[in-house]
């Protein structure tokens, strides 16, 4: 096989033609998108309830006079948004332009994009970036959640919106910044955006009261807009924010439980068991749907989420686990599920984050005991890490920010990226549907592909003891132990280990 040599100008023409044809294809389809939307999608995965009924109704009524106006508007149900792929892709581009202008307004040189920078990024291809941990592990997933919800706000399904997220993420990486397209950003924005996006979308639909009118209705729509701005803005622009309808049936959970906790956290290290000063925190947990029962109807019809504010940083933990598939086994005694997970933890002792997929087996008995085990693959994980010979990261800003300009990260970056695997088990003992004792263990392996060359093995154990007091209120104590072992791939095969015990005491308020 012989290689073919090209002149750079010819390559440039090749790429321009490729790119042009792709955008042309998108625009032609967008122009025609309206034509295919009206036909009911009989091969679509089962979404049951009103979506299916709506499709059947649409099929039977198509072409007849006097059909409900929502069918003519290409809505899958009366309370659903009208379907438009073209509008979803257009709004994704608007989101990119919005973020670009915001960066420009902040004076970031990375926002000064031109066709030359677009071409340079296409010539270079994917690279790893050197941005801050929080920007990459929270900022990009949040941005991806906006792309995802341009799809959901325009009537697209979960998986269709996932493709829109990848489109928004890739176009941002190549055309939204002067930085070279970042592989870790693409993965975090796409997978994190899907997880956060569906979580926010469904949570916003919980807040929205679509049967209400007047001021109460307006505030419920504004509250939902704060959680899911893209859907909120679309609803206000279309006038859906004041229409009285039922909620889409697949966005009404079969079960809902949530708790809020506020208290103090004490964290120690291997050298110093616990520091005297506690750190205040607020933690919010929610279980949407019933992850232990029934066959799944749509992705994320059951999910769990946990957010912890304070306790070592502004947002010290974010965790979303959404069910993609669920199937009861052995007459419901066992439950098999496939989950998508998004994890973020950052405090003054350690920082980790990951995008992963897991297979779980759950067992529950008489609503008192629940056991869940899982194993899966981490597509991309991040863990704070120091090169050998360095015991402390330099003070922030030291050795950084040369003359490249605001917004340009020049490194060094003190965390590693890589794929890996994860596994874990959790057991819950409850009484009257209120958990009293929760045991949790998770192990995660990361093979570093970018950063310090090492294998990282992370373990986290957590025990929650919860005591109901009066009504929805209770008190709780949590013991947590985080252990990390790093196996450096140097000639001496150096090993390093750190562990961080922590204790939390808090008041809880639980609703279900």
């Amino acid at each position: 096989m012989h290689s073919i040599e090209f002149d750079p100008p010819k390559m440039r023409r090749v790429a321009v033609v490729m790119l042009g044809s792709m955008f042309w294809g998108v625009s032609l389809c967008a122009a025609q998108g309206i034509q295919d939307a009206a036909s009911p999608d009989t091969n679509r995965p089962s979404t049951v309830l009103t979506d299916q009924l709506a499709s059947l109704a649409a099929a039977s009524l198509a072409g007849t006079a006097g059909q409900p106006s929502w069918i003519e508007e290409r809505r899958a149900c009366e309370g659903c948004p009208p379907r438009s792929v073209g509008r979803a892709l257009f709004q994704t581009t608007v989101v990119n332009v919005f973020y670009g202008l915001a960066n420009l307004a902040r004076g970031q040189v990375t926002a000064r994009v031109t066709p030359t920078t677009w071409w340079r990024n296409m010539e270079q291809g994917w690279v790893w970036d050197l941005d801050d941990f929080t920007v990459n592990q929270i900022g990009h997933p949040y941005q991806g959640n906006n792309y995802f919800n341009t799809g959901r706000a325009n009537g697209l399904s979960f998986y269709e919106s996932a493709a829109v997220t990848a489109f928004g993420s890739a176009t941002w990486e190549y055309f939204g910044e002067t930085n070279h397209a970042s592989l870790n950003d693409f993965i975090n924005t796409t997978l994190g955006g899907i997880a956060l996006g569906e979580m926010f979308h469904r949570t916003a639909w919980l807040v929205r009261d679509t049967r209400a009118t007047g001021r109460g209705r307006m505030w419920s729509e504004i509250g939902a807009l704060a959680l899911d701005p893209i859907t909120g803005v679309n609803r206000f622009m279309r006038g859906d924010a004041s229409r009285v309808t039922d909620k889409p049936a697949d966005l009404v959970p079969s079960h809902l439980a949530a708790s809020a906790s506020a208290g103090v956290l004490w964290r120690g290290t291997e050298d110093n068991a616990f520091s005297a000063d506690g750190q205040p925190f607020v933690e919010v947990e929610a279980i949407y749907g019933d992850p232990d029962k029934e066959r799944s109807r749509t992705p994320y019809d059951a999910f769990g989420m946990r957010l912890r504010f304070g306790g070592g940083s502004g947002l010290s933990e974010a965790r979303v686990r959404g069910r993609l598939l669920g199937q009861p086994l052995k007459d419901g005694a066992l439950q098999f599920s496939v989950l998508q997970s998004y994890d973020f933890q950052k405090n003054d002792a350690y920082a980790t984050g990951s995008q992963s997929f897991e297979a779980t087996f759950g067992f529950s008995s008489t609503n008192r005991f629940r056991l869940l085990g899982w194993a899966g693959l981490t597509v991309l994980g991040a863990i704070d890490s120091l090169p050998l010979g360095l015991s402390e990261p330099p003070v922030e800003g030291e050795g950084e920010g040369g003359d490249a300009g605001q917004g340009v990260s020049e490194g060094p970056r003190y965390y590693d990226y890589g794929p890996g695997s994860n596994f874990g088990v959790t057991a819950t003992f409850s009484r009257s549907n209120r958990p009293l004792v929760v045991l949790f263990y998770e192990g995660r392996h990361l093979y570093s592909l970018d950063g310090v060359r090492a294998n990282h093995f992370l373990q986290r154990t957590r025990v929650d003891l919860l005591l109901p007091l009066r009504g929805a209120f209770g008190v709780g104590v949590t013991g947590e132990y985080f252990d990390r072992r790093t196996f450096y791939q140097d000639a001496a095969a150096t090993r390093a280990g750190h562990h961080y015990p922590q204790v939390l005491a808090y008041l809880t308020w639980r609703v279900s």
């Binding site: 012989h2 294809g25 994917w126 991309l380 570093s448 592909l449």
Partner: protein, 205 residues
């Protein structure tokens, strides 16, 4: 394989015209028809591509060359619905250079999605693993073998998207994150390879 610039240009003109051709075909295609003899949920595609590859390292000053060659693409999976196919992809690209051969094989889980059911335009994305056998800059005659994280994105146009036999034109980018690249002089850290390809594949359902 020896290809002239003229052949490339012809291929690219065809690719550039693809949306127009499909646009012209779109009207009679509007209600998606199932393959004769009942719908098949299988999705199989095999084709070839012209590809350009470049490896780069984050901390290297050196400007690494672009290398061009042919590539083979195979997709196998099933149709999740009439807009989406999911399955596995194998992308194999061998490159002969003056210094030796580099063979990269990507094994990815992919989803191929047509936003508009009546149109052929599709987006593709996926991730998996890549295996590289590298005879450039090695010690002795054996290759250095590497594993990598693989990510693929792409777009294209499929003709006759719901028929049993179809054709797709595609443009794709495969990335492989190697970590360290082993050479005779030692390891080069943080290497990412990129492969850009345009090609065509026969689709069987």
């Amino acid at each position: 394989m020896s290809l002239s610039i003229r052949a490339w240009a012809r291929g690219l003109c065809l690719l550039a015209l693809a949306p127009t051709l499909a646009f012209a075909q779109a009207a009679p295609q509007a209600p998606p028809s199932e393959p004769a003899g009942g719908p098949s949920r299988m999705w199989f595609a095999v084709g070839g591509a012209l590809a350009t590859m470049r490896g780069d390292c984050q901390t290297c000053e050196e400007d690494f060359p672009y290398r061009h060659s042919g590539a083979l693409l195979v997709n196998a999976g099933y149709r999740a619905n009439h807009r989406m196919d999911v399955g596995a992809e194998v992308f194999w690209m061998p490159v002969e250079t003056a210094e030796g051969t580099i063979r990269a094989t990507h094994f990815d889980a992919v989803a191929q999605f047509r936003p508009w059911a009546s149109q052929g335009f599709f987006l593709k994305g996926g991730a998996g693993m890549a295996f590289v056998r590298n005879w450039v800059d090695v010690l002795g005659s054996d290759s250095f073998n590497e594993k990598a994280l693989s990510v693929v994105i792409g777009a294209g146009w499929v003709f006759r998207p719901t028929a049993r036999l179809g054709l797709q034109l595609f443009a794709a980018q495969h990335a492989l994150a190697l970590g360290d690249l082993q050479t005779s002089q030692g390891q080069i850290p943080d290497v990412v390879g990129n492969r850009w390809s345009i090609g065509a594949a026969v689709v069987i359902r």
